[in-house]
């Protein structure tokens, strides 16, 4: 069922990671990802991996949930591996058969690319979606991007759109499920036939879904109007984001660790030089 999708799910909790200022989480995640792409050798990755394991442990979401989050991108990881293994030139040949050549360099590249993607996904999950409610994430984005308001970027409106989209994703997924069941009950067949037939078979789902989405949008707009919504001007917020002492400490520690990782990358590359 569509409802079973856990990607991007929020697990409420009370851990130190949950309590971090969402803006801080956002900034650290971006810095972490930057560091991931700057580093190559084993030492920086041990540092980067280590701090992530610590973060996952602190978040109390559970390692099972974290690895579960990797499942949907497994196919991406496999493709990345194959691509790197077969299409990287240079380095020492360790296997060769007909037109297939595998070099140590390719294996090395594949290994780091997969590690990089996996760490990237885990970091965004633990630090962001698993431990931050979507609304806080949106607030954080709005706040971090707010300087852009000066150059007329509609930051508040974008954040509001994101909130509403997040709010209605489960509702619309449930609705899609229902409409599919109803049309199947009238003999609709979504599983057989060629591409064109299958695309055509989606019409009885898409049209009711669009109509319903528009109806919901209209009703929601009325309801928001009734509750005096008038854009971001003069709005207050229930949840005021405040940088606590703890957040400064976390920021300092994180910056230190990331700097260490990047520094170690320059000093010890274990003899392999990358382009």
């Amino acid at each position: 069922m569509l409802k079973d999708i856990t990607l991007g799910q929020f697990f409420p909790g009370n851990s130190i990671i949950h309590k971090m200022d969402p803006r801080l989480k956002l900034v650290i995640t971006v810095l972490y990802i930057t560091a991931l792409f700057m580093c190559h050798g084993p030492v920086p990755y041990i540092i980067l991996g280590g701090i992530l394991i610590l973060a996952v442990a602190l978040s109390k979401v559970g390692f099972r949930q974290v690895t579960r989050g990797l499942k949907p991108i497994l196919i991406l990881l496999v493709i990345t591996t194959l691509f790197n293994v077969f299409y990287t030139n240079g380095g020492q040949v360790i296997f060769s058969w007909k037109f297939i050549t595998i070099t140590d360099y390719g294996v090395y590249n594949a290994f780091y690319m997969v590690l990089r993607i996996a760490l990237l996904i885990i970091a965004t999950f633990t630090l962001l979606t698993y431990t931050t409610s979507p609304i806080m994430l949106t607030d954080a984005l709005e706040s971090v991007l707010s300087p852009l308001k000066k150059i007329k970027v509609p930051v508040h409106e974008l954040a509001m759109m994101m909130t509403i989209a997040l709010r209605f994703i489960p509702t619309l997924l449930e609705e899609t499920d229902k409409i599919m069941s109803a049309q199947k009950s009238r003999g609709a067949d979504f599983e057989s036939g060629g591409l064109i037939r299958r695309a055509k078979a989606l019409i009885p789902i898409l049209i009711p879904l669009f109509i319903s989405a528009f109806r919901r949008a209209e009703e929601l707009a009325t309801a928001m109007e009734c509750r005096c919504y008038n854009g971001g001007e003069g709005r207050t917020k229930l949840r005021v984001m405040k940088f606590a002492m703890r957040d400064y400490v976390i920021l300092f520690v994180s910056l230190a660790v990331l700097a260490l990782a990047i520094y170690s990358d320059y000093t010890c590359t274990f003899g392999v030089i990358l382009p």
Binding site: M1, E175, A182, S185, R186, G187, A188, P204, P208, I211
Partner: protein, 289 residues
């Protein structure tokens, strides 16, 4: 009477092996008899929706079996597809599933999927539209121009056009005004009378359907709480209330009278029955009823 549908030890679990695991139906067995009007009653989350989706093969049992006319509906692919058409399922708020440009084409969706001839489809569309009181002039209109009550009837016609032997309706009167509720119930009763089709009403409110049904199956927390005639079921008002269900006003008043020591039958569930009982008591000086 023969059993048209048999449910045998049916179990269904959602999201197995995830933190969201939930058993919607647990070891459930009952039968639906040919030609009867059955009320399937239960509170939200009692497993009603999951159950009915097993009856026309939308969901596959995790264990147990659903039999249609004595044969497992998952016996072979062809049969499963036949059952899909023989057991018509009308979901809650079915008007939200309309999609065609005209009412006629929307009603024809089911029969077209059955691969019937043009003439047969046309004939069935007219039949279905008339059986829910839709005027022929409406057939060429867009379903989206119609009123809420009319849309509901178009959606109902879309299932009736498949001429199902069993018609299952999930809260068919939800959100309608009193007149609209009464009309829908009458069209469905007529379909039962005219074609001899079996009807299953799925609902959490008994007031509307108490007078219509022959038999009731009450669900509570993924299991069957009780089965019986309306008389049998409504005489157990306390169990029903405990299961989060409302009972017909007549049954409620009868229960209150019984508590006051007035000898009214606990099996009363319609206003007429209650008025009869009171009249008899009144005429007979309160001795027997």
């Amino acid at each position: 009477m023969d059993n048209i549908i048999e449910v045998l030890n049916l179990t269904h679990t959602y999201g197995a092996d995830t933190p969201f695991e939930h058993t919607a139906i647990e070891d459930m067995s009952f039968e639906i008899k040919q030609g009867e009007i059955l009320g399937l009653i239960g509170h939200t989350g009692s497993g009603k929706s999951t159950l009915i989706q097993h009856l026309n093969g939308l969901l596959k049992p995790d264990s147990g079996m659903v039999k249609f006319c004595g044969r497992d509906i998952w016996d072979d692919k062809q049969f499963t597809r036949e059952v899909r058409f023989s057991v018509g399922l009308v979901f809650q708020y079915p008007e939200y599933q309309l999609f065609e440009e005209t009412v006629e084409r929307d009603i024809a969706f089911g029969p077209t999927n059955m691969k019937l001839s043009e003439d047969e489809i046309r004939e069935r569309v007219l039949y279905a539209a008339r059986s829910v009181g839709l005027d022929d002039s409406i057939l060429l209109k867009s379903p989206f121009e119609l009123s809420g009550g009319q849309k509901r009837r178009v959606a109902l016609a879309g299932v009736i056009a498949m001429k199902p032997k069993v018609l299952i309706l999930d809260e068919p009167t939800a959100g309608l005004d009193p007149e609209g509720r009464e009309e829908i119930l009458n069209y469905i009763k007529n379909y039962n009378k005219e074609t001899g089709a079996t009807i299953v009403f799925v609902t959490h409110s008994m007031e509307d359907i108490a007078r219509v049904v022959d038999r009731i199956v009450v669900l509570e927390k993924s299991k069957i709480l009780m089965t019986g005639t309306p008389k049998e079921v409504f005489s157990r008002t306390e169990d029903l209330i405990r299961a989060g269900l409302t009972i017909p006003v007549a049954a409620e008043i009868a229960g209150k009278l019984a508590k006051k020591g007035i000898p009214v039958s606990p099996a009363i569930y319609t206003i007429e029955q209650l008025a009869d009982a009171i009249s008899t008591l009144y005429a007979g000086g309160g001795k027997n009823a």
